[in-house]
Symmetry: C2
Subunit: 348 residues, 2 copies
């Protein structure tokens, strides 16, 4: 149902570390009408990502920071309600960079970067909920896919360790590694997530970093050392993991969830000698560099989800009012599964 | 000329950082006679390498540390004086892991690791001095060759930055990058080495890290950023270089000359975020992993040296008494070129 105004979550203050509720404000504007070539979308699910910390950061980054006073950049999935673009019809479900707002006006002719709303693709379903287009069949799943397979290059029989193992990206990495015939060890926080890792995400071992003795836990869980480390945390957890690398190990740098702030750059043990001794590599990557191959990743992931080889969990908050505090909650680790905000009914 | 005893430089005390003269002692033993399958070599040039710090270190490493009381592990080039192995005849020049000693008894049948003396190859000359088999046509040249070409993967038109740019490895890296069509920028210490980099080793720019403002110097020397960083130093120099990486940059971790000790592991700025933002990789390597391709490297390097595309400099100390203090001098940067110790006449 079309409501009278468009509620928007705007960036009010720039955080120096993790964005908190106070850094955002909710405003209302009239709902726009689409002109020629434009599409109006009623958003249904908004995404919440650890990467959002970087998107609002003043520190050097891979994209322009979200400008103060503008709508928070976000992936979302919604339904076309009006269209001046023959490619999209009212009733189509679409996903893309729609921002944290009820309605998004997309101009596919002129918008081509992450600072403007753009449609990434139609969501056909394949029997799966549309919300999956933001998680396991969206940026998170594709991040796992390209990061593990292209950057990590795991071989059957190798040991793959994943940090934030129960998260939207990590849980998919672990299961992809399992599909590739690897031994998988997840690092996560708290008994609920350890259980989730073992029982749902099929890790061979799951370790609670909040318990004592991460180093000993890793030694026990990885008796043959570590060949691939998919790193979503950085910091002290990763420092400990590096002690267990095998010769020729690959460290995939995906995120730095454990680092409270990058301004100033925090100190940690230097890695050069370890990289030489182990002939290891650390490599950062961004899923956005793989745009040409998104279709391949989504098709493959959809198949594996439908085949029961990849399981996922969602953590759905209710209402756009939840958005401002949702990133901070993610960094506190309070979610069990991909964090989403539902702001309208699917059939709306 | 065969002398009565074999002088040997033995490891007396294990250093925690850079090995100093006091960590070694010179002893004398009888000269052995070769039995069946054994070869006796009169060493002429002994090599001095930054890597020797690692070879005597108690810290986890890629090879067993040199045992206390044993002859210091070293590459050398010498002449066969007696042989029980039909493959080697008296008068042949050979290079290999012969240790810091006058005479070496090699048993090629039983020795296959770096802890025992072994012949790497005969030195044919190709019109070049036999000493080059320890530098530009030895481990140093091959380290440059595999590290730059295989790990760094430079493309024509890219900017390649080299630390310890005037050293035995660095000077070769810079010239190899030039052969590949790259812009080359060397980082070195002091005006003499800057001059050497510019005038002999053909760097497009050479920077003195001992002068103020390394960051500004790099910005000026690398107006298009840095695509490959061949890192022989680690530490503060490398921290500064990382600020200038381009998207997709490769950091080749070859050595850590600027780090006084790895026990305990020193702290430095964490690199994870920089690696993500720049989609960059840091990779350590060891030349010993490329043994199967040594022949390719030596043939190619010999050709390029003979064609005048690669120049080299040697810094030759006189007499085995110089060996104990030679590593520390290298870390003080007092050499201009590949450091060697000549302990006998070439025609001896």
């Amino acid at each position: 149902m079309k409501q009278a105004t468009n509620r928007q979550v705007r960036l009010k203050k720039r955080p120096s570390g993790i964005p908190q509720a106070e850094h955002f404000e909710i405003t209302e504007t009239p709902i726009p009408d689409p002109g020629d070539g434009q599409v109006l979308i009623r958003n249904i699910f908004l995404s919440v990502e650890p990467a959002m910390r970087g998107w609002v950061s003043p520190v050097a980054n891979y994209a322009e920071p979200v400008a103060l006073g503008t709508v928070m950049r976000s992936l979302a999935v919604g339904k076309v309600v009006a269209s001046g673009d023959p490619e999209y019809q009212p009733g189509d479900y679409v996903t893309g960079m729609f921002g944290w707002q009820d309605y998004t006006l997309v101009d596919n002719q002129t918008n081509d970067d992450t600072n403007n709303p753009s449609i990434q693709r139609k969501v056909c379903g394949d029997g799966l909920p549309i919300s999956t287009s933001l998680g396991v069949l969206g940026l998170n799943g594709m991040t796992a896919y390209f990061g593990l397979l292209d950057v990590g290059q795991p071989n059957a029989g190798e040991t793959v360790v994943v940090s934030t193992a129960a998260g939207a990206v990590g849980s998919c990495v672990g299961q992809l590694a399992k599909i590739k015939g690897c031994r998988t060890v997840g690092i996560t926080g708290g008994p609920d997530k350890v259980k989730l890792c073992r029982e749902v995400f099929q890790y061979d071992q799951a370790i609670d970093y909040q318990c004592e003795g991460l180093d000993e836990q890793l030694a026990t869980a990885c008796p043959n050392g570590i060949d691939v480390y998919f790193d979503n945390t950085g910091g002290a957890i990763s420092d400990t993991v590096l002690n267990h690398l095998n010769v020729g190990a690959r460290v995939v740098i995906c995120g730095t969830a454990s680092i409270a702030s990058w301004d100033p750059i925090p100190q940690g043990p230097r890695v050069e000698r370890q990289l030489i001794v182990k002939r290891a590599r650390m490599q950062g990557f961004l899923v956005f560099d793989y745009k040409d191959r998104y279709g391949e990743a989504i098709d493959t992931l959809t198949q594996w989800v439908n085949d029961g080889l990849i399981h996922y969990r969602e953590d759905i908050l209710d209402g756009i009012e939840q958005a401002p505090g949702a990133i901070a909650g993610l960094y506190r680790g309070e979610n069990l599964g991909k964090r989403l905000i539902q702001i309208a009914a699917i059939s709306s």
